[in-house]
């Protein structure tokens, strides 16, 4: 009998990102949150095709209809505009105002933090003390103070939220970079004569960007709440633009007439914010970031 030689199965070791993806998939709650966010994103992108009505057109004859009114599945607002359409369109500005400041702050904060951490010395001292000053303000207070001083508007809202998120991101970036900088392989790269920029790009960046990114994603939920909060106060987005925080503000007077219609926009902010939080928790586990 001839022994059959089984071919040894060739196994490629999965790459780093494949491992991350595998670990992420195991976090059921985070995957679910990701799906919810994807749905909200699609809703925002395809709003003109999904929304049954024009979000800015209203008629005073049909104002403040309850949920389930024929033609107004989620009721109508104080100016007789269709709530469902406004909520769908509202996803656009609300997501934009929540996510964009964190991303800009992620870039600026990372550059500041990595530079401070890598260069160290007096430069680090000066930069981090300035960061400390901004840290001395509670984030809500700083956001409201800045946009309050600059006045309402989308751009001013974006600027003030970005300013709020740069210090915490820079602080994390600085602390992880300081940790990595002292490692042997970074020292070796420096000894080889590579320029600071090259060392940061090839040796440092890959090791610090993960933790910074995970931290930044955890801020999106706060940013969503703050951005809508600014609009809720009458700063940030201005009427008649559909935005969840602003809708909540203009519907406040209707809580005695149509309470649940008035509360709807907040529910959307809540769902988005909790989904971002769960997703960020999942990413943290998947990327194995320890804090």
């Amino acid at each position: 009998m001839a022994a059959t030689v089984l071919p040894v199965p060739f196994e490629r070791s999965p790459g780093y990102w494949a491992n991350v993806w595998r670990r992420f998939r195991r976090e059921k709650l985070a995957v679910f949150a990701g799906c919810v966010l994807l749905a909200i994103l699609l809703m925002a992108i395809f709003a003109p095709y999904i929304a049954p009505k024009d979000p800015t057109f209203g008629t005073m004859l049909r104002r403040l209809r309850p949920i389930g009114t024929p033609g107004f599945p989620l009721g109508s607002d104080e100016l007789g505009r269709d709530m469902l359409s406004r909520l769908i369109y509202g996803a656009r500005l609300s997501l934009f105002m929540g996510v964009v400041p964190v991303f800009i702050a992620f870039f600026i904060g990372s550059v500041i933090g990595i530079a401070a951490g890598y260069i160290g010395g007096a430069f680090n001292m000066v930069v981090m003390r300035i960061i400390d000053v901004f840290f001395a303000f509670p984030s809500v207070l700083l956001a409201i103070a800045l946009s309050g001083a600059m006045g309402a508007g989308i751009t001013n809202g974006l600027i003030s939220l970005t300013v709020v998120f740069i210090p915490p991101i820079a602080r994390i970036a600085e602390s992880v970079t300081t940790g990595v900088r002292k490692l042997d392989y970074v020292e070796a790269a420096r000894a080889s004569g590579a320029s600071a920029f090259t060392v940061v790009r090839t040796q440092v960046l890959g090791n610090v960007i993960g933790p910074i990114f995970v931290y930044a994603t955890s801020l999106i939920s706060v940013s969503m709440i703050l951005a809508s909060g600014l609009s809720f106060l009458g700063l940030g987005v201005r009427p008649p633009e559909p935005e969840w925080g602003l809708m909540l503000n203009t519907l406040r007077t209707a809580i005695y007439v149509q309470p649940w219609v008035a509360a709807l926009p907040g529910l959307f902010i809540f769902i988005t914010s909790i989904a971002f939080n769960l997703l960020s928790d999942g990413l943290r586990t998947a990327l194995d970031v320890k804090d």
């Binding site: 003390r129 300035i130 400390d132 000053v133 901004f134 001395a136 303000f137 509670p138 984030s139 809500v140 207070l141 409201i144 103070a145 800045l146 309050g148 001083a149 600059m150 006045g151 939920s221 709440i225 809508s228 909060g229 809720f232 106060l233 009458g234 700063l235 925080g245 909540l248 406040r252 809580i255 005695y256 309470p259 649940w260 008035a262 509360a263 926009p265 907040g266 529910l267 902010i269 809540f270 914010s273 909790i274 971002f276 939080n277 769960l278 928790d281």
Partner: protein, 317 residues
């Protein structure tokens, strides 16, 4: 310890100075002149000039800053443009109301958050742990101004149990310790307590789990100590950090109360700040933010010092 104290205080000074520069600059990033909003549009050029001189807006920035800073150190934060009253007197009254609200909220948030966090950390990975974790995620994700609205809808609009706005009967803003006033603080305090609750629960859970995994706990158990005895040791070890979190959250609530105070028309600093923003009352805006931020800075310092006094191992640099 004394060295640490001096070092920590010295370190706070430049931060406090930086904070006042930021507060001062707020007025100057605003579009237009700080006076344009109060002067009638047809005011003569001469009147505008005179007003500008009166408020000192014609001086160079550094001189304006030094003057403002010097006066602020003496407790004079200028005059409100809208009401003509001194900013300090407006602030003192509002600060009292905000302190009351924030104190109640911190208490509720800390008791509940601490309880959830403790139970979750003690029985890790149990059903209770999961439930508490979920609650804390909800706590940090919920837009608190919306939660306030929902509570008003349920307990004021629908059930009619509690008042929806103000700090006392008839919309009075003077606080008193009786049920008529306490009734008004219930909803805003519960709403506000959600902010620290999630964070406190998370911190305490991690803290308790960490302490329980340390060797000395095993040692205590081996000594034959009952669960209650171990429990006492865990509490003792968790207390300094827990207190620090509580102090910082209290400071955070003082400064971050504006959205909740707006929902409930609670006559505190946040409400004052809202008014200052919409009436473009820049001296009031500047002064309110300065006081709130300084409160936060000083509280940070106190928390640090108290924490290192209780537990000398923690000397944050």
């Amino acid at each position: 310890m004394l060295f640490y104290l001096v070092k920590r205080v010295l370190y706070t000074l430049p931060v406090a100075f930086g904070v006042s520069i930021v507060c001062f600059m707020l007025v100057h990033i605003a579009p237009g002149d700080p006076l344009t909003s109060v002067l009638p549009p047809d005011a003569s050029a001469q009147l505008q000039q005179e007003m500008r001189r009166l408020y000192g807006f014609d001086r160079p920035y550094y001189e304006q800053f030094l003057r403002w800073f010097g006066r602020a150190l003496q407790g004079d934060l200028g005059t409100s443009i809208a009401t003509g009253r001194s900013v300090t007197s407006e602030l003192v009254k509002a600060m009292g109301n905000t302190l009351i609200l924030a104190a109640f909220a911190t208490m509720i948030g800390f008791v509940l958050g601490g309880l959830f966090g403790f139970v979750a950390g003690y029985f890790r990975n149990s059903f209770i742990d999961r439930f508490a974790s979920l609650l804390s995620v909800i706590g940090v994700s919920v837009p608190h101004y919306w939660l306030g609205m929902v509570l008003v809808i349920i307990f004021s609009a629908q059930l009619g149990w509690l008042p929806a706005t103000g700090a006392g009967p008839g919309g009075s803003s003077d606080w008193a310790w009786d049920w008529a006033h306490l009734k008004h603080v219930v909803l805003p305090a519960i709403t506000m307590s959600v902010i620290p609750m999630g964070i406190v629960a998370r911190t305490i859970r991690a803290l308790v789990a960490d302490i329980l995994s340390q060797e000395f706990v095993g040692g205590l158990r081996a000594k034959g100590l009952l669960d209650l005895g171990v429990f006492k040791h865990v509490v003792k070890n968790a207390a300094p950090t827990a207190l620090a979190v509580m102090g910082l959250q209290f400071g955070y609530l003082l400064g971050g109360s504006i959205l909740i105070e707006t929902v409930f028309s609670w006559p505190g600093t946040g409400f004052l700040l809202g008014n200052a923003i919409f009436q473009r009352d820049l001296p009031l805006l500047q002064g309110t933010i300065l006081v709130l931020a300084m409160f936060f800075v000083v509280l940070n310092l106190i928390v640090d010092l108290v924490q290192s006094a209780i537990d000398p191992r923690i000397q944050r640099s």
